[in-house]
């Protein structure tokens, strides 16, 4: 515990400095490429963080995240363009609908085996794409809803913020990402997060101690859906269009790699890997195809050699430290 207590103020300082630097970026450079990377990092890190909550902490392998992402996007687009809602309300509506859908799907499939749950979550994501492509009356079909212009956002204090420049989107998405990660952090460092880990580590033991696994799993799913839905609602305005490609498997593959490399169950690890995996592949100028081949290879190698990820390696180190011979005997 003493090491943790020493580290905590240091950590807080590092986070504060880091955030300050991140938010200052648009003032330091007008380079749109950098700003686009920032938006990408903010969005993908929220998706990966939610997946980490469901899979890394609670142990539920789920492919449904991208479904919540797209539902948020479509809902926000429709609410804003067809009904004149403010952007934040549209995004919240997106998050709300995604949460509802997540709870319904979760509740009905959690009693299935883990194999079936994984397949159902996958089919859900696929169904979302099919519905988006074919329910033309609502979603405008394969063409999607283009020309999304974000309305100005009313800030407290009577200010109006016209979100039009890349810098604006950078601040918007980054700002939300900070809120989202803060929320995830509060949950995973609380006894709720500890309960999720317990359920992942040994569900029957947790049940015998009074924990209700379904409740905690639903909590993880609901929270991840809420955050994915809201960020989706904001992201589609950055893209200025929402179409069925918002449900692309590419998002699922990318967020999975971020979680696997960062270490399932490691909050900071996944945050770090989100950053690295947003910036590095772009720097290396890989085409999407090659990037995916590389991700696939990384996934294969990780599963063969490091099934526990970074977190598992850290855990083994802790165990080894305790097992060293100690004076006085056990």
């Amino acid at each position: 515990m003493s090491a943790d207590h020493k580290a905590r103020p240091l950590l807080a300082l590092a986070v504060a400095v880091g955030l300050l630097a991140l938010f200052a970026v648009p003032r330091l450079t007008g380079n749109e490429y950098v700003l686009a990377l920032g938006v990408s990092f903010a969005t993908m890190s929220v998706l990966a963080g939610g997946l980490n909550l469901v899979y890394g902490y609670t142990g539920l392998l789920s492919f449904a995240q991208v479904g919540f992402f797209g539902i948020g996007g479509y809902t926000a687009a429709l609410m804003v363009t067809d009904h004149g809602w403010p952007l934040w309300a549209g995004a919240m509506a997106g998050g709300g609908l995604a949460t509802l859908v997540g709870i319904v799907i979760g509740y009905s499939s959690l009693r299935l085996s883990r194999h079936a749950f994984a397949i159902v979550s996958l089919s859900f994501a696929l169904l979302c794409m099919i519905v988006a492509r074919d329910w033309v009356d609502v979603t405008r079909g394969a063409m999607g809803i283009p020309g999304l212009l974000p309305p100005a956002m009313d800030l407290p204090g009577g200010l109006r913020w016209r979100i039009a420049q890349p810098a604006d989107f950078y601040w918007l998405l980054l700002g939300f990402a900070v809120v989202a990660h803060a929320l995830i952090y509060v949950v995973v460092t609380s006894r709720l997060g500890r309960a999720m880990r317990a359920i992942k580590l040994n569900e029957p033991l947790a049940q015998s101690q009074g924990l209700n696994p379904v409740a905690y799993k639903l909590l993880a799913i609901a929270l991840s859906a809420l955050l994915a839905g809201i960020v989706g609602g904001l992201f589609v305005f950055y893209l200025t269009i929402v179409d069925p490609s918002i449900f692309d498997f590419y998002y699922t593959e990318t967020m999975l790699i971020m979680v696997i490399i960062g270490g399932p169950g490691s909050f900071w690890g996944v945050l770090a890997s989100s950053a690295v995996l947003t910036v590095v592949p772009d720097l290396l100028r890989f085409t999407t195809d090659l990037r995916m081949v590389l991700y696939g290879l990384v996934l294969i190698l990780a599963m063969l050699l490091f099934p526990g990820g970074l977190g598992g390696w850290l855990h083994r180190r802790r165990v080894a430290r305790w097992r060293r011979p100690r004076p006085g005997g056990a």
């Binding site: 194999h115 099919i130 294969i300 599963m303």
Partner: protein, 291 residues
């Protein structure tokens, strides 16, 4: 109602259903014997079609030799795959197998995209444009051959599973792994063969359909999810259940396409799967492994 139209739809449905069955049975076999959900399964269907295309359209092989080559290559690939990747998994942690096969699927799919681009290719053979006419029904020869191949594969699989020692061993492992191991069945040999057969079936399906539909790197992707839905509907690990569910789905899809917009047909597999899971989670035909 136009009976000829309906009969045409039924026939098309049976053909596609048989092909679905080949893919689904392979997937089911691999799951039953190894407890692995093979995410990369669709890619072997795609590779089978790709190879068939190149053999017939680019390198001048005949249709039948191409089929034989594809099946042999696919089975061999399955064998190698098992030894290199899957053997080490050994049933420990099923997330690992899903993620590993997902990684494999990413490599194969995107590798194919990189090498061949998304332009669809037509594996035009001498059969592509001839039809057999029975009464008022037109049966494209290519589809008939696909049907024939599928049925032949069914027969071969049945014989293997029920008449050979190792086939019976596969069924044993699939129904009760620990009991099978206790009576001395070698899990590696059985698993290896299961993967080889499963991948072989998938490749065969791809080659059989190459003359019928366009061939492109993403064709396996949409296929495999339907295969997942099919094995859930039929019952996880239940091979004959998968076959029946597959044919039923094929027919249903075909009939629906004739009367309703295309969207319904595509979503049918998943809606059916969800219904089955809600009402009868162990699948229509059930199995040893609990769903």
């Amino acid at each position: 109602m136009d009976l000829t139209f309906l009969a045409q739809l039924l026939l098309n449905g049976i053909v596609i259903g048989v092909i679905y069955a080949l893919v689904a049975m392979g997937l089911s076999l691999i799951f039953g014997v190894l407890e692995i959900v093979n995410f990369a399964h669709g890619e072997f269907y795609m590779l089978g079609a790709m190879l068939a295309y190149f053999l017939t359209a680019q390198w001048g092989f005949g249709y039948w030799p191409a089929i034989v080559i594809v099946v042999a290559a696919a089975a061999a690939l399955g064998y190698v795959l098992y030894e290199a990747l899957l053997a080490s998994l050994r049933g420990e942690g099923f997330e690992r197998s899903i993620l590993l096969t997902l990684g494999l699927s990413m490599v194969l799919q995107n590798g194919a995209l990189y090498l061949f681009t998304t332009t669809p290719k037509m594996a035009g053979t001498s059969l592509s444009y001839s039809n057999v006419v029975v009464g008022e029904l037109r049966l494209p020869l290519a589809r008939l051959f696909a049907l024939g191949l599928g049925l032949a594969a069914f027969g071969a699989l049945y014989l293997i599973l029920h008449r050979t020692r190792i086939g019976k061993a596969m069924r044993g492992v699939s129904q009760n792994r620990s009991a099978a191991l206790m009576v001395g069945i070698d899990p590696r040999a059985v698993s290896r063969l299961a993967v080889a057969i499963g991948i072989g079936l998938s490749g065969l399906a791809g080659a059989a359909l190459a003359p019928v539909y366009a061939v492109h790197p993403l064709m396996g992707f949409s296929f495999v999810f339907k295969a997942f839905a099919i094995i859930i509907i039929g019952g996880l690990g239940n091979i004959s259940g998968a076959a029946i569910a597959a044919v039923l789905l094929g027919v249903l899809e075909s009939v629906v396409t004739g009367f309703l917009p295309l969207v319904m047909a595509d979503a049918l597999a998943f809606v059916a799967m969800i219904l089955v899971l809600l009402v009868r989670p162990q699948g229509l035909f059930g199995r040893g492994v609990r769903v």
